[in-house]
Symmetry: C2
Subunit: 515 residues, 2 copies
């Protein structure tokens, strides 16, 4: 039997009492490690996190916590090679795709360590200007933000075991809030290892960072009203979480990032081969293949002017045809595996649904697997679908197929295009391609309300833009409606979730004594 | 039969098809008017609000919407006398208590009309500074806030039919978001009349302000993912709302203000008769009797140093004994009715529960009713309870009795007092009384995390302070945990709920074209 990974809770490393769930190599099918959370004393462990970890974190200033993040960053950098090895084995990703997760995590943590320098050397934040409540100046309202006194529970997704931990933990720890992370079981290894390295290095107070691997049973029951909960995953699980007593009855603050049928839109007025045309084709192909399309921000729907449909279909198919797919350990391979048999099945089922209302423009099955056994490896080639009747293809706007799959659709005019993008019912990100700055600005504003992020690629930014699907810590990550309604990152905006805002109404002398 | 009030939905006034529910005078028991929402086409009415009202509001700038609020304000001011008449009849409140609701509404609306001047003459807001995403300066992230494209549904409480409408509608309309208000049935008349006056005056675009009176059945089912929902009421109903598919599955953004067991705390070091001692006694007595204690912000728990328990009990009881209770039409009466028989029953039941763990320090039954029939009128006198074992009296910390009832409790030291306040599990407001500025500041910071507002009364603010329970539009209103986790008001912070934040990532030329 493989190694049983321990959980970190209550200030110690503790093994689950069950047989454990095996984590597999999605390319080779071999067992790697096991995880188990059976028999953990969650209430006691959570209390330790709140009372020991939380108290120790809150005793530090923002600047001191920034230094703590920097120390954690150095630990991660020192073990970076090991993380890539785990990613190759457990996520089946090529090195560039592992980097999106691992180096993305390191960059995000580094960004928050730096942002700490812009915060006061204090233990709470002042929010905005004082407001006068008395004409004689003897009574004022000051708004303050103080760290949440509970813990932050993260229930995370399988596709970003590294970044998914640190994009949440960095702002939480900087805010002074202890963390319990429950990684998705399929790829829990990398999350667990990163927590282990940082905890064992002793750079955080005991109880500040905890990890529970395996089943999530009981985690929500152990929450208390002052805790916060951040969930990344399916809309179905999100609905269950929102209905749990901890959230519905005890008002545990919750942040949710769920499904998203993100769009890319080539604005009117472009000819085949124009800079904007080429930028769209390049970005769509990249988004479809990076991490085998297993990014919540990946492009799922591509809208182009009707007259350009065939030209885009041809250019995209040609580009996709060059993708070498297979074992990520092979030098020739550019796109690796899906994360598990379950995901392979889900992608195939989703593809079948979409195929019922689309035609196949580029068939993923045309890609022979390099150095991988199709009977074992969880690998599919990239598939481009096309729906000439964009209005009628309801499933394309509703179903997020979490793999290397996108659907191309034609639109009549900009109003039609914007209306079609809106059929996603709220998404994480939309990208725009064009060269008319006024038209791009107007379309970006029109899409802003339905998206957490609008990414605009105009010719002058064709090289420097950061990518449709890359989540930059400086920008908001989240989206309304189907995307779950959450807000993460966005620089210091991320700290809001881990603070409570309160108005202190008092005389100037009392406000001065707040410190 | 009394008049059947019409609903405003879909751009017209429409009667419900049912027999209606009668609204009663809680002092005289007479029927006043009826409300009914049966047979309304909610989906069509909501669509009209979104598509007509919302589009017209979004076409205006913030400054233009501010002028619109000012016009609505003038309508309310012109009809102010009629509102007081309705409040006397339907809420059973004395004039000063009606003013808390009606003049509170007018002041809040006026505050937002004025705040509009500090907003740009534009249709969206820029949030913070741009962040650089490329070293060569060709790609940046700018965060914008654009108005929600859906509607704002308000499900409101019976105790503030006027203020409860406008404290939400003012920031919603200023944000450019159409409103549907569902007032609590018992006191729906005043809400309906205010909407009627403003709508009939034609100062708002058609569909911008709507009212549905009667049962709330079907309202949540008519919501769509881009709508927002603000609820004020019981924690039990709040849990039902959070579990509804619109919220749990479609991520309708929700703001909840629920139960709150607010505290007042006299800090150590005070002698009987000191300025802080007197301020506490005066404020507790006022909070218990204003609106017969039917304020979500009213003081329910009073903590004083052990040696002062008897002195505070005596001073408070003496003050409460002077309260004249009865028919609000009588000149001599200072405290009027509860809002309904149902509330009378709930208060009596709550009192019975609290009495099982407390002793009665001042008995409300000692107050003879002035000019009111005890068999008909929904009136109770103010009751002060005492619990010498503050730690053991669990019900006192958990149960919000929504009437003129508070419980006095002794504490050993400041740490004990803060811990007891925290037993409320999150409250709207706590107030502090003392003269040591450093001690007041430290206690205010310690309480900030568990409260939406901390109100500090020191001697220099004894006259100018705005009152423990008065919600000033400049200050945040809401609270974590049991209080529902919501955020309302707080000046321009209130606009956040009615906007979506998005990052626009683009070149400087495209960002310049955003306008």
């Amino acid at each position: 039997m493989s190694e049983l990974l321990h959980n970190c809770l209550g200030g110690r490393w503790v093994a689950g009492r069950g047989a454990g769930t095996a984590l597999l190599d999605p390319v080779l099918g071999t067992e790697l490690v096991r995880v188990d959370a059976a028999g953990l004393d969650l209430p006691a462990g959570f209390a330790y996190a709140r009372d020991r970890g939380g108290a120790a974190l809150r005793a530090l200033t923002y600047r001191q916590r920034g230094a703590m993040l920097r120390a954690a960053l150095e630990v991660l950098q020192a073990h970076r090679d090991a993380y890539f090895e785990i990613a190759t084995a457990n996520s089946g990703t090529v090195k560039n795709d592992s980097a999106v997760d691992i180096d993305g995590a390191i960059y995000t943590l580094s960004t928050y360590a730096k942002l700490a320098a812009s915060l006061p050397d204090a233990r709470f934040l002042v929010d905005g200007e004082d407001a006068s409540l008395a004409k004689d100046g003897t009574f004022l309202a000051r708004h303050v933000q103080t760290p949440v006194r509970g813990l932050a529970l993260f229930i995370n997704a399988f596709n970003f075991p590294a970044w998914g931990l640190w994009e949440k933990a960095a702002p939480a720890l900087l805010s002074g809030v202890p963390v319990v992370v429950k990684p998705a079981t399929a790829t829990a290894w990398l999350t667990q290892r990163m927590v282990k390295d940082v905890v064992d290095a002793g750079v955080l107070p005991p109880g500040a960072l905890n990890v529970v691997c395996g089943r999530s049973a009981g985690l929500l029951d152990a929450l208390q009203p002052m805790d916060v909960l951040s969930f990344t995953g399916s809309a179905a699980t999100a609905a269950t979480i929102r209905s749990h007593a901890a959230v519905a009855r005890d008002s545990v603050r919750v942040n949710i990032e769920a499904d998203s049928v993100n769009a890319a839109l080539l604005l009117p007025g472009e000819a085949p081969g124009s800079a904007a045309f080429d930028a769209l084709v390049k970005e769509v192909a990249r988004e479809m293949t990076v991490k085998s399309g297993q990014k919540c921000t990946a492009i799922r729907r591509v809208f182009v002017p009707e007259p350009l449909f065939d030209a885009v279909a041809e250019a995209l198919s040609a580009r996709l045809a060059k993708a070498t797919v297979g074992n990520p350990r092979s030098e020739a391979v550019r796109m690796g595996a899906l994360v598990s048999r379950a995901q392979l099945t889900a992608v195939r089922e989703g593809l079948a649904t979409l195929k019922s209302v689309t035609k196949v423009l580029h068939d993923g099955d045309r890609h022979a697997l390099v150095d991988a056994d199709p009977a074992v490896a969880c690998i599919v080639g990239p598939t481009l679908l096309g729906a000439c009747d964009a209005d009628g293809a309801a499933q394309v706007h509703d179903l997020e197929v979490f793999g290397p799959v996108a659907t191309l659709m034609p639109y009549r005019d900009t109003a039609h295009a914007l209306q079609l993008v809106g059929r996603g019912q709220g998404s994480l990100v939309a990208s725009l391609y064009g060269c008319d700055h006024a038209a791009l600005g107007a379309a970006a504003l029109a899409l802003a309300e339905g998206h957490g992020r609008v990414h605009v690629v105009s010719p002058e930014a064709a090289v420097s833009h950061t990518g449709h699907g890359n989540v930059m810590p400086q920008s908001l990550h989240g989206g309304p409606g189907r995307a779950g309604g959450g807000e993460e990152l966005g620089g210091l905006r991320a700290l809001n979730f881990y603070h409570r805002r309160a108005a202190v109404q008092a005389s100037p002398a009392v406000l001065a004594a707040l410190g």
